[in-house]
């Protein structure tokens, strides 16, 4: 039989591998790090820089470091003194809250984290969640303040550390947002008195730094009150933060309102919707969606701004840390303590910006 009659075997072209220096890790390195002389120089400089800095940093932070020691031992040793954080951990986190009651703010923070985590998912957004939040906030207040159910009363002047930072930011942000939206609507209003009031308010608040507002609230304000009548210091700072943030939110939301096409207003009018309905059903849902990124960056900066209450001697997270550092035993270990605080701030801010990006994506998807 002739081989030609045989069903022909499929013959594959012999695959030739590219030279080893063009693929795999070597190829990647050549392509990305040494593509021309400029990149090569940059790469070499970077590598030298990393070799010079990273090993000493690792040695400082992990090898020579002390984690659970006294301040005196830290002063002897050369490495990082993380003991300044571990040794004062509970004061840094909880401030003046009575030592044996620390489980209460801890539980309140867990509750808050749980609520935040559950609310992440937009499918869970319904009126039961709103009730859940109200109940949750009530429980948190109860845990912090006490007074009933056999819990000792803890005055708000004793609140401090991380719970105080969270209280100032969460209440600050949640109260400032609706207020900012109202101000933005007021500024767009056709009623001259409302409009000019809103403009004056926004420009006045945006024209002064937050520090001066905090000073006003804690130093000047009490002088106008009759003696003996005094508002809680935390409440005063909280109000200052809300007033300040609201003005910024208002301007961002105004940007969103102005970005809406005129046709949207006309369409709503032609459907016979009144002002409130137009805003609630047509304009605001779209406008607020546009301004998610700038509002989140305002919220993030407002969160970090809460640390300014240091100057009116409220013991937020940053202040408790600073206070720890004035103890002679721990003096000089500011780097370690501030790294720790920075990590907490970073975690919170990263969570916020990450979530805003996700929210943006989801809302855009439903739009298409």
């Amino acid at each position: 039989m002739d081989s030609k009659n045989q069903p022909s075997k499929t013959v594959y072209a012999k695959t030739v591998k590219p030279p080893v220096i063009q693929i795999g890790p070597i190829g990647w390195i050549r392509k990305n790090l040494f593509s021309d002389w400029f990149n090569s120089v940059l790469t070499v400089i970077t590598v030298i820089f990393l070799i010079k800095t990273v090993p000493p940093l690792v040695t400082w932070a992990f090898v020579d470091s002390l984690w659970f020691s006294t301040g005196a031992e830290c002063h002897e040793a050369g490495g990082a003194c993380w003991s300044v954080v571990t040794g004062n951990f509970r004061f840094i986190i909880f401030g003046f809250y009575p030592h044996d009651q620390h489980w209460r703010p801890f539980l309140a923070m867990i509750l808050l984290a749980g609520l935040l985590f559950y609310s992440q998912n937009r499918d869970h957004w319904n009126k039961y969640l709103a009730y859940g939040w109200i109940l949750g906030l009530f429980l948190m207040g109860l845990l912090m303040k006490g007074g009933i159910l056999g819990l000792d009363t803890v005055e708000s002047t004793q609140w401090g550390g991380l719970p105080l930072t969270l209280i100032l930011s969460i209440f600050g942000l949640t109260a400032a947002y609706p207020m900012g939206v109202l101000l933005a609507l007021g500024r767009q209003s056709r009623m001259p008195i409302i409009q000019s009031l809103c403009i004056v308010y926004i420009e006045l608040i945006r024209g002064v730094p937050l520090i001066s507002l905090l000073f006003m609230s804690s130093v000047v304000f009490p002088l106008f009150l009759p003696e003996g009548v005094s508002f809680n210091n935390i409440l005063r700072a909280q109000v200052a933060i809300i007033l300040f943030t609201a003005a910024y939110i208002a301007e961002v939301v105004r940007g969103g309102l102005q970005g809406m096409a005129r046709g949207q207003y006309e369409a709503a009018e032609s459907l016979g919707l009144n002002y409130v309905q137009t805003m609630r059903l047509v304009i605001l849902p779209q406008a607020l969606k546009i301004v998610i990124p700038p509002s989140v960056s305002i919220l993030i900066s407002a969160f970090k701004d809460t640390s300014l209450v240091v100057i009116i001697a409220l013991y937020d997270l940053l202040k408790t840390t600073q206070s720890t550092l004035t103890n002679p035993e721990w003096m000089g270990f500011s780097a370690e303590a501030y790294i720790f605080v920075a990590m907490i701030y970073f975690t919170c801010c990263f969570f916020m910006s990450n979530y805003s990006r996700r929210l943006e994506r989801e809302l855009n998807r439903s739009n298409r």
Partner: protein, 338 residues
């Protein structure tokens, strides 16, 4: 225009009248059941929370002594941490009843600011910390030195005055934060560090090698640190005054928190009067007859309070110096309790 002027005058009058109407701090304090004390919050040894958040320090103990005198319970104090900027307003506005926040008594503060300073509870003064290596023995030899100093304080002004008065030149290195300032000094950024002597002692204690540094003998300023109350409330001022003086008097009489119960049985009429065994003092102040006993029992005498907070066995390691009893060459002197 006229209306506005009238309005403001009235407002001012209203504020003044309000200030006068509630002159009785003692009654207010008794009514609310605790004393609100303004303290530093960041100064180790004087007013600062420990790692459990419990307030400790010489100034804190002063406030506790007043509470012991008024309520018989040293724990009936609430603390408001105040910054250098907010401290006087807090007292003027009635937010705190007593300011125990290492405030230097000066003429203008005592008069124009509307404060009344009480018995000094710590005599401080500004000094220099310097490395032994420089071989300097006196502040007079510091011509041309770089000086680390906190900006915006009386310290900064004092040191400039001192150098000018002695025809010397200096280069100030100013850093805002106390801890960072000390760090800069130990890193060699400046030749000497100037601050209140009590703080220099603390800085020296945490130096990498404390033996290499000395505090120069010159004290270039007077800093009598005293608690302050609102002007015009004489009874309250008397109470604060005699609460502090009771601690000093107790040390003078040899009464301490450990032996105060035995001292109650003492036959010495001076001690009997002091501890309220023979009555009179308490009534005169409008307090319980046992007020001095309560202070000594719960807080201690001045020597105990000093040693506990800033003395040689604390990280600050401060000698008594000016704060010793007058019998030991110091300035602590109490009038007789009778």
């Amino acid at each position: 225009m006229k209306f506005f002027r009238l309005f403001f005058v009235n407002l001012l009058l209203f504020v003044l009248v309000c200030g006068l109407a509630t002159a009785g701090t003692l009654d207010d304090v008794k009514a609310k059941g605790f004393i609100q004390a303004g303290v530093n919050g960041d100064l180790f040894g004087f007013g600062k929370p420990d790692e459990k958040g419990v307030w400790r320090g010489l100034d804190v103990d002063t406030a506790r002594a007043v509470a012991a005198a008024v309520f018989g319970d040293a724990n009936k104090v609430k603390y408001t941490p105040l910054t250098a900027k907010t401290r006087f307003t807090a007292l003027q506005s009635g937010e705190v009843d007593i300011l125990t926040r290492n405030c230097t008594q000066t003429l203008t503060r005592d008069t124009a600011l509307g404060l009344d300073f009480c018995q000094v509870n710590y005599y401080d003064g500004q000094g220099f910390l310097i490395s032994k290596k420089l071989g300097v023995k006196s502040a007079k030899e510091l011509d041309g030195a770089t000086v680390c100093v906190l900006p915006g304080t009386t310290t900064e002004l004092n040191v400039a005055d001192y150098f000018r008065a002695n025809n010397m030149k200096m280069k100030p290195v100013v850093i805002e934060n106390t801890a960072e300032l000390a760090k800069a000094f130990f890193a060699g950024r400046c030749d000497c560090l100037t601050s209140d002597a009590s703080q220099l002692a603390g800085n020296r204690a945490v130096a990498p090698n404390p033996k290499d540094y000395i505090i120069l003998p010159e004290i270039i300023s007077k800093e009598p640190l005293a608690p302050a109350v609102r002007h015009g409330d004489n009874q309250w001022k008397d109470i604060v005054n005699y609460s502090i003086l009771a601690m000093i008097n107790a040390e003078e009489l040899g009464v301490s928190s450990k032996n105060v119960d035995e001292m109650l049985k003492s036959n010495d009429p001076i001690i009997q009067r002091f501890l309220g065994v023979s009555p009179g003092n308490g009534e005169a102040l409008g307090l319980d007859e046992k007020f001095a006993y309560n202070i000594i029992k719960q807080v201690g005498n001045y020597g105990e309070v000093f040693e506990r907070n800033v003395g040689v066995n604390t990280p600050l390691g401060i000698e008594r110096g000016l704060n010793a009893l007058w019998t030991n060459g110091g300035l602590m002197y109490s009038p007789p309790f009778k």
